[in-house]
């Protein structure tokens, strides 16, 4: 469904991403790993339209999307989270989920002011969906809290729920386990597996937590200093000499 060909991104003199290939099939969890500063987040930013890549192609469901504005890419069904959680901090938890369902709501000003039946039924559907996902990530009790006041792990889960209510086809998670304790990481592990199994979304994952990555990934791509280093199944990658060298060299 997603195919990234020969992607490169240059910031002034720095070639942050150089010739990266990636592909994600339906019903698949693909991880991108690499040392700090390898260019993983930059790949995400290019794919999700925050940066205009300086070279290469990005195909989503067969259509070229590179250079499209971010909000249009998101509407195609490719939604991401951020390395540093980005919630609408002063809005309540449930409002965060309602904002995300903007596209599924009746946004006509007049229908809203007059509360037409169509407006109401869509509003109700989006509230129900919000309630469903809040329950799913264990935040239903906190629905009317300010999102910015949630604990860190809860914020991470809310961010994922906020992506899921948009009904994405591909979910892109940038270090979702960063800052979580082992129990929370374990929950996250199960949540991601269930997203794939029960909701049929594909997942593109950036993660430093190797046990999580090895556990849930169908395939892994390793990037080092902007260049692709290796890719394959978790076992292939684990035994790849270049990868071992890069990681040991870093440590």
């Amino acid at each position: 469904m997603l195919e990234v060909q020969d992607l490169s991104m240059r910031f002034g003199g720095l070639l942050a991403v150089d010739g990266v290939h990636l592909d994600v099939q339906n019903h698949e969890i693909v991880s991108v790993i690499g040392p700090n500063g390898a260019g993983k987040t930059t790949v995400f930013n290019c794919v999700s339209g925050f940066y205009k890549p300086t070279g290469g192609k990005i195909l989503f469901e067969g259509k070229e999307v590179q250079g499209k504005p971010d909000y249009k890419i998101s509407r195609l069904g490719m939604v991401r989270t951020f390395q540093h959680v980005r919630l609408f901090g002063q809005m309540s938890v449930v409002e965060n989920l309602l904002v995300a369902q903007h596209r599924h709501l009746n946004t006509n000003l007049l229908s809203g002011l007059l509360k037409t039946p169509d407006y109401r039924s869509r509003e109700k559907r989006s509230l129900d969906k919000a309630a469903y996902w809040l329950e799913r990530v264990g935040l239903l009790e906190l629905a009317n809290r300010e999102a910015g006041n949630l604990a860190y792990g809860q914020q991470r889960r809310l961010e994922i729920a906020r992506c899921m209510v948009t009904e994405p086809k591909l979910l892109m998670l940038d270090e979702p386990a960063a800052g979580l304790n082992p129990a929370e990481t374990n929950d996250l592990n199960q949540l991601i597996m269930s997203l794939k199994e029960d909701y049929n979304v594909s997942v593109l994952l950036i993660e430093h937590d190797m046990s999580l990555v090895m556990d849930i990934s169908d395939r892994i791509t390793v990037i080092n200093q902007g260049r692709p280093l290796a890719s394959g199944t978790p076992d292939d990658v684990r035994q790849n000499d270049d990868v071992i060298k890069a990681y040991l060299g870093e440590a």
């Binding site: 909000y71 249009k72 980005r86 609408f88 809005m91 409002e95 309602l98 809203g112 309630a131 009317n144």
Partner: protein, 423 residues
């Protein structure tokens, strides 16, 4: 520690004298064609030095004083109370608001003409502040040129009347829609700007409109303004002593009552009241609609909002357009109330005052903004004797508010949304 305090206190006292003496201690006096400088009366000069002394002592013992302040019993005995449960609070609020509106409907019939006139002005400021609250408080776009849309509304009515004989009721929607169009036009160039840059460009836009009105003498009358703007009519009935418009009748003759200048003032007040209530209700509704949530999402985190498929263009433009729409409303009422408008009425200071109302009231909070609009408009009128120091008091109030209650008089409260557990 002590020497540091002493130095600091001395410095503060000197600054007080340096600032206060030229402003208060010296007077400009006309001497024939010349202007001379004269010292003020001894009492003023003594007060200046007294003030410096007080500043000195306060700064010297500042730590002790501030420390003891904290130990004083709370000024507001209710402040420690548990907040009401959300549903009860919503009910109480709804009742209080209805009571206030009903009171406001009957109130003008018992008070003086001057008060009603002032109240109309308050209502105009409420409309303006509620509109700006959309742009600044909800969407988080710092707009320093908001007065431009107010001017567009007012001048639309004045010009349409002058050239095409439009009445108030015909001009009201046109003025609001035209102001909204200007809002959208301004929106385009500033789409990519944020914070300081946005503030500067909107400030420039406000000035451009004012300067245009000032210099396009052939159409707008320039600094002389436009006069003779008619009052609103009630189903073709005029409120003047003699009927001016063709086919109109006069209010006092129709009802067989004696002519009174008050009828007109009260009628205008009621129109302003209705429009202000409509403004408040519509914006209140918008805040709970997808568009309102999108404004806030953009304010909170633009990148996250875009990543969820919100178009920055649509959201920002809608905020500017809707904010400007209500300024256009207010402008039309203002033109009708004054009967005469000139670019003088739409200077930057107006934008600043409206913005101050929003900030004082609490960004995004409707009740707060309404209270602040009342306070900011009425207090200067109550303290006429101090009119020279109006800006000084205003500034001091702003500084104090920012120190003690940076979130505003009544910060915005989120409305709880009840959810049904899903299977």
């Amino acid at each position: 520690m002590a020497t540091h305090n002493l130095k600091h206190a001395l410095f503060c006292a000197i600054v007080t004298v340096v600032i206060a003496y030229p402003i208060l201690g010296l007077d400009l006096v006309a001497q024939g064609t010349q202007i001379g400088l004269e010292g003020a009366t001894p009492t003023t000069i003594i007060s200046i030095f007294l003030a410096a002394g007080i500043v000195f002592l306060f700064q010297l013992f500042r730590d002790n004083i501030m420390g003891n302040l904290g130990k004083l019993p709370k000024l507001n005995p209710l402040s420690g109370r548990e907040p009401m449960p959300a549903e009860k609070r919503a009910k109480v609020e709804a009742w209080v608001l209805t009571a206030i509106i009903v009171l406001a409907l009957f109130w003008p019939f018992v008070v003086s003409r001057g008060s009603v006139d002032l109240a109309t002005l308050v209502l105009i400021y409420i409309m303006l502040a509620l509109g700006l609250n959309v742009v600044v408080g909800l969407a988080g776009l710092l707009d320093l040129g908001y007065v431009a849309f107010y001017a567009v509304g007012a001048y639309t009515f004045a010009l349409l009347y002058q050239y095409f004989g439009f009445t108030f009721w015909m001009a009201l929607p046109v003025g609001a829609l035209l102001a909204a169009t200007f809002g959208m036009v301004l929106g385009f160039p500033v789409l990519r700007l944020r914070g300081d840059y946005l503030a500067i460009v909107t400030l420039g836009f406000g000035e451009i409109i004012r300067i245009l009105l000032n210099n396009w003498t052939a159409v707008t009358g320039g600094p002389n303004g436009i006069g003779g703007i008619p009052d609103p009519t009630l189903f073709g009935m005029e409120f003047g002593r003699r009927v001016k418009g063709e086919g109109n009748t006069s209010f006092h003759e129709t009802f067989g009552i004696a002519y009174s200048g008050e009828h007109k003032v009260i009628f205008l007040y009621l129109i302003a009241l209705v429009l202000a209530v409509i403004t408040a209700l519509v914006i209140r509704r918008l805040m709970r609609m997808p568009v309102g949530r999108a404004w806030e999402a953009l304010r909170e985190d633009e990148i996250a909002a875009r990543s969820l498929g919100l178009s920055r263009t649509a959201v920002k433009l809608s905020a500017f357009t809707i904010g400007a729409f209500f300024a256009g409303f207010a402008g039309t009422v203002f033109a009708s109330k004054q009967g005469f408008i000139s670019p003088e009425s739409f200077v930057f200071l107006e934008s600043a005052i409206i913005l101050a109302i929003v900030v004082l009231g609490g960004m995004g909070s409707q009740i707060g903004v309404i209270l602040a609009a009342i306070a900011v408009t009425i207090l200067p009128e109550l303290a006429r004797e101090f009119s020279d120091f109006r800006m000084l008091v205003f500034g001091a109030a702003m500084v104090l508010m920012m120190v003690w209650r940076p979130q505003g008089l009544m910060p915005m409260r989120r409305i709880p949304i009840s959810l049904k557990r899903q299977e």
